[in-house]
């Protein structure tokens, strides 16, 4: 076993850099991500589209296309083992068993030509040597667990006969089939309507408490965050810009990006003609600024230093980290400035 602190965490990501090859050049979509997930913890990763949330989650599973992407630096420690060092063959033993994943689109995440049962059984056959009959019984059992009515019928049906909510329940059933230690849910409710969304979140929460697993929930919906999270990680343009527990994040957001996001949520108790938005979009990988804060040109509070000095993630109060030059702690100590720049 490596360091002691790793023993208690389900997942430790240290200094992760993941990039894509564009025209032969490596552009990083995830830069210097450090995070840890404790057992039974729900960690939410938020940020708008293109922030590197999904890339990060796929890096953990090592599922990014090998041909044009690369984890160039850092380590992902799961169960005391560095997942970035594992071969595909070794990763296949982890995927679906110790870490599993739920995807955004329940409509396309199930193969249209196979019955629900055969897709449920696939994960069981991949990792155990159950007989067909056992796998079927376990499948029905799982469907019951995720609240599917008439499971012994549904197991023989095809995905197209089921509603989006049902399909997402089935995805959850597949992902919890082998009691994984970590469940990565990549925007699991984005494609569902609001009432179904609430049901699915409730279900995930219930299963999480019962099965003692940790969840890493990736979302851009702060409502979901408020509902589910213990800890929140805000990402912007591939970097973590703020980490806090859920209460602190909503009561005292530190980073201007987080503040803008929170103020963009429509509120029932306010009369407004226009919704707050954050002007501009996330810079594309090719146009990412090399120096300075990546949020600078969209930031309402930006000042001179913001485009010249790259802020670092630092503690701004107890259990609350941010990456913004408004806080003195985030100024890089002079010795590490050059190193930071060279690294990028």
């Amino acid at each position: 076993m490596p360091q002691e602190q790793h023993d208690q965490n389900v997942l430790d990501i240290n200094n992760l850099h993941t990039g894509f090859l564009i025209d032969g050049e490596l552009h990083h979509a995830v830069v210097d991500v450090n995070l840890s997930v404790k057992p039974k913890e729900v960690v939410c990763v938020v940020g708008e589209s293109g922030c590197g949330k999904s890339v990060m989650s796929l890096s953990i599973m090592n599922l990014l296309p090998k041909i044009n992407s690369k984890i160039s630096k850092g380590e992902i420690i799961f169960n005391g083992e560095d997942l970035t060092q594992k071969t595909d063959e070794e990763m296949n033993k982890v995927r679906g068993k110790d870490i599993s994943m739920i995807f955004q689109e329940p409509m396309t995440a199930l193969n249209p030509v196979f019955t629900v049962g055969s897709q449920l059984q696939e994960v069981l056959f991949n990792h155990t040597d159950m007989s067909k009959q056992e796998a079927r019984e376990r499948g029905i059992d799982l469907l019951k667990q995720v609240g599917i009515p008439r499971p012994e019928k549904i197991i023989d049906e095809y995905p197209h006969q089921l509603s989006g909510g049902m399909r997402q329940r089935i995805m959850i059933a597949i992902s919890i089939a082998l009691n994984p230690k970590l469940l990565i849910a990549d925007e699991p409710t984005t494609a569902l309507d609001v009432t179904v969304q609430a049901q699915i979140l409730e279900l995930m929460k219930a299963i999480q408490e019962k099965e003692d697993m940790a969840i890493m929930l990736i979302t851009h919906d702060l409502g979901v965050v408020a509902e589910m999270a213990d800890k929140v990680i805000v990402m912007y343009a591939g970097k973590i810009v703020e980490t806090a527990n859920v209460v602190d994040l909503f009561t005292e957001p530190k980073h201007p990006y987080t503040k803008s996001m929170i103020s963009s949520i429509p509120r029932m108790d306010e009369q407004k003609n226009k919704l707050n938005t954050i002007d501009g979009i996330v810079p594309s990988l090719k146009n990412m600024p090399h120096v300075g804060c990546r949020f600078a040109d969209r930031c309402p509070k930006a000042f001179d230093d913001c485009t010249k000095i790259t802020p670092q993630l630092a503690k701004v109060s107890d259990d609350h980290e941010a990456r913004c030059l408004l806080y003195d702690a985030c100024y890089p100590d002079t010795s590490s400035i050059e190193k930071e720049e060279v690294n990028q």
């Binding site: 599973m61 044009n68 990763m91 995927r95 994943m101 995807f103 199930l110 023989d156």
Partner: protein
């Protein structure tokens, strides 16, 4: 079991309430009369050809100089050719050769094309580039010229007899089209999240391709395969007709047509060349109708 029973217990046999894609396709296909009739004819002609040794005990290669160019009679149903060989028997055996060439070439071409196309489409990047440039290379070769040359070379080695050399040559040169189609289908299909989802539960790439991707492109491949069957039967006939296909000692429909190159046979002795010609025409037509039917039946957009 009576259809009225509504009980559904957990240990009841698997009895899906709804039809699978294949059942739906089968039902749709069965509604197409022309396709069904064609399928019936194809099954008939394939059965008759392959059961030839059981239908007649006449030796197909026997030359009988005392009975040359005889008109159809009760003894020789389709008459005899200018070497005194029974045309009916030769048509049966010829069908066996022609259909074997067509079917085996189709199977191997589809197989090679599917494997290469799937790998190229799934892995992408340099693998795709390499395989597809190779495919392009194969497709640039002038098909018939190479078939004739390779066939001549293969027949030159005495080991590969008769129709087998033609099957090998067709297989080596024909898979380019299928590979391209399968690749483009896989490219579109692999964007679906179920592919990522399958990898995320620990399925190997080979399993993802075989179990998840391929069944979703299978419909296209099946339709393509039926058309290939027709292509290779025609190609065999054409090549044999000009004398560069199946060696003359092996009867095939194409070989038999070769007789019609003589003007007197063409004009005065239709019984020698009409039977194989009719067989080829009807077979190709049927294959095309069946292919058309399959195309409609497997297309999810058609409802009837």
């Amino acid at each position: 079991m009576e259809p009225a029973t509504k009980t559904s217990s957990a240990n009841a046999p698997r009895k899906p309430k709804f039809d699978s894609t294949w059942t739906i396709a089968r039902k749709k296909f069965m509604k197409r009369k022309l396709a069904m009739v064609s399928l019936g004819f194809l099954i008939f002609i394939i059965t008759v050809s392959f059961l030839a040794p059981y239908i007649t005990d006449t030796d197909v290669t026997r030359i009988n100089m005392s009975e040359i160019n005889k008109e159809p009679s009760s003894e020789h149903w389709f008459g005899t050719d200018r070497n005194g060989r029974d045309v009916f028997v030769r048509t049966l055996y010829g069908g066996r050769v022609s259909l074997t060439i067509g079917l085996l070439s189709m199977v191997s071409v589809t197989l090679i094309g599917s494997i290469i196309g799937s790998i190229a489409g799934y892995y992408g990047g340099w693998v795709d580039n390499l395989l597809m440039r190779f495919t392009d290379f194969i497709l640039t070769l002038p098909f018939y010229v190479f078939v004739i040359v390779l066939n001549a070379i293969l027949i030159g080695f005495d080991r590969v007899a008769g129709m087998w050399s033609l099957i090998i040559v067709f297989s080596l040169l024909g898979w380019g089209g299928v590979a391209r189609i399968v690749r483009s289908k896989i490219l579109a299909e692999k964007e679906n999240e179920y592919v990522l989802a399958a990898s995320s539960i620990g399925s190997r790439p080979s399993k993802v391709i075989m179990k998840h991707l391929f069944p979703n492109v299978m419909t296209t491949v099946i339709v393509q395969a039926t058309l290939l069957l027709a292509t290779y039967i025609v190609a065999e006939a054409g090549l044999s007709f000009i004398g560069v296909g199946v060696p003359p000692d092996t009867p095939s429909w194409g070989n038999m047509l070769m007789e019609a190159r003589q003007t007197d046979v063409l004009q005065d002795k239709p019984w020698i060349w009409v039977p194989p010609a009719v067989c080829i025409t009807l077979t190709i037509l049927s294959i095309n109708f069946v292919g058309e039917g399959l195309k409609d039946a497997l297309d999810p957009k058609t409802t009837k």
